[in-house]
Amino acid sequence: SPAVHHHSGLSSELRHCTGYTPQLSTAVLISNFSLFPHALIPLSFQDDNWGETTTAVTGTSEHSLSQEDIVRISKDLDDSVGLDCKRYLNVALSVILGLVVLLTPLAFLILPHLLWPDRLRACGTACEGLFISVAFKLLILLLAVWALFFRPPRAGLPRIFVFRALLATLVLLFVLSYWLFYGVRILDSQDEDYQGIVQYAVSLVDALLFIHYLAIVLLELRQLQPFFSLCVTRSTDGATQHYNLGQLSIQRAAVVILENYYKDFPVHNPAMLTASKSRAAKHLAGLKVYNVDAAGIAQSQSRAMIAAAARRRDSSHNELYYEEAEHERRVRKRRARLVVAVEEAFTHICRMQEEEQKKASGDVMDPREAAQAIFPSMARALQKYLRTTRQQHLHSMESIQQHLAFCITNNMTPKAFLESYLTTGPTLQYGKDRWLARQWTLISEASVTSGLNDGTIFLLKCIDFSLVVTTKKIPYIQLAEEFIDPKSHKFVLRLQSETSV
């Protein structure tokens, strides 16, 4: 949340101190104005001295809304309206197309019997064999279409799925052309050769199966062979991963990356970034530039500012070094205390065997009660450790006790129990409210339905951070061969002797 520092200077410097660009903060203030007119953030930003009289507004105040909350709420509103509409439309269209495709061959077979049954030549054995083939092929087509198109989607994409739309169009055109032909050549002329009609229906089903095969190749197989290597970097702390993907559109690549993000990247912890922000603030606070007449600083003046900052004998690197060493030491000490406390706590619990359970003497507890019984002895050490490593907001007491009960049930050692607190795990490990799975925005200069290319860059923006993705083509590997004869491994002794004569 933007904390407005009380600054005895002119208002033009205030926006720089908050760490946001001027446009963004004004945009927030304006949107705030429109959605929540009753919010209690001071709105008198027209006044030049408003910095002088405002008190600090932080996210912990009860009556204020931080910028993140505003964005989150507005996104929730947008999402709930737009998404359902698109999804229902998709499902409806798919169902209609599926029915058309399924019923067309049946209609081709049944219509002659309904319209001119008397003139129809009887169906021989070969023809009846074709009935069976049509039936089975239709069954397979039904299952295949369900498997490919009707399973619940894993993700909601911003634009239509281009290949699916193209395939649907292709199928529609195909079926329409068959109907046209059927209408003109068979219905109008009332053809008597029923075997020919049945073969016509079989050819339609065969062609639909081939189109389905094309769909499998386009939708599923093409993306499996790795073609591009994507480098994903998180903007806040620089955590980087690389993924190999096939030829996908940008939106589908984004979905794959996000699915992998939840398991590969350590959870985003804003508390870890406060140190660098405070250092940055100190750098800025050291230099005060007073702009009396003109608006804005000339480029030469800003360069002079940077030079002056460089020349100033700054001991902040020294501070950083000692601070980090001290922090490291503190963390290790707390960790040692924690490990000892947990090990001791675990020794108080003992699993009862089956035979002993039948005797059931006195205090028999289930895992949850056992966890609650030993938790107080380690709670203090754990809380102190979490506070030192700035993870305390990631774990609630309830979740810790649940995890403890889980470990006790599965005979885990104290080390196994502690592992999830000593190392930061991926985002999936923590509660659902950390996932923010509905808050992602794809920002791209190229159209999101266009395919990946060497050098494509796009952003995946969440509320507090963004993932920067760059694409590189996997290099073409030329492999050469060298044959070594197994008998060619020969060795000699290299001597250096000294003889006295």
Partner: protein
């Protein structure tokens, strides 16, 4: 002392005459040799060119016949009693030096300082 394979080696040599010392049944000359065409020339500390497979004097015992005769550590032996020492194995060199029926060995040895001394004296003229 650099040599080109296949070309004769030409260098400034010093004649050294060593009288063998009889110590009971042993006959010693008072120095140690290293090198040879069957040895590893890159481990020779005395040679300038590390592909030089000549026979070098690696140690001279104090007060022994070799030191008395003027042999120094690091000398390369070119000839022993007329036998060539530039293309011999280590064992052949040893044998030529320790022939039982010879009491005196006449060596032709070369060292860097000889060349420098000759060049110096030539420059003076």
């Amino acid at each position: 002392m650099s040599f080109i394979p296949g070309q004769p080696v030409s260098t400034v040599v010093q004649r050294i005459e060593i009288h063998k010392l009889r110590d009971g049944d042993n006959v010693i000359l008072g120095f140690s040799i290293g090198g040879g065409i069957d040895q590893d020339p890159s481990q020779n500390p005395f040679s300038e060119d590390k592909t030089d497979k000549g026979i070098y004097v690696t140690r001279v015992s104090k007060g022994g016949p070799a030191e008395v005769a003027g042999l120094r550590m690091g000398d390369r032996i070119m000839q022993v009693n007329g036998w060539d020492m530039t293309m011999v194995t280590h064992d052949q060199a040893r044998k030529k030096l320790t022939k039982k029926n010879e009491d005196v060995v006449r060596l032709l040895v070369t060292r860097k300082t000889l060349e420098d001394a000759v060049r110096q004296s030539m420059m003076q003229h």
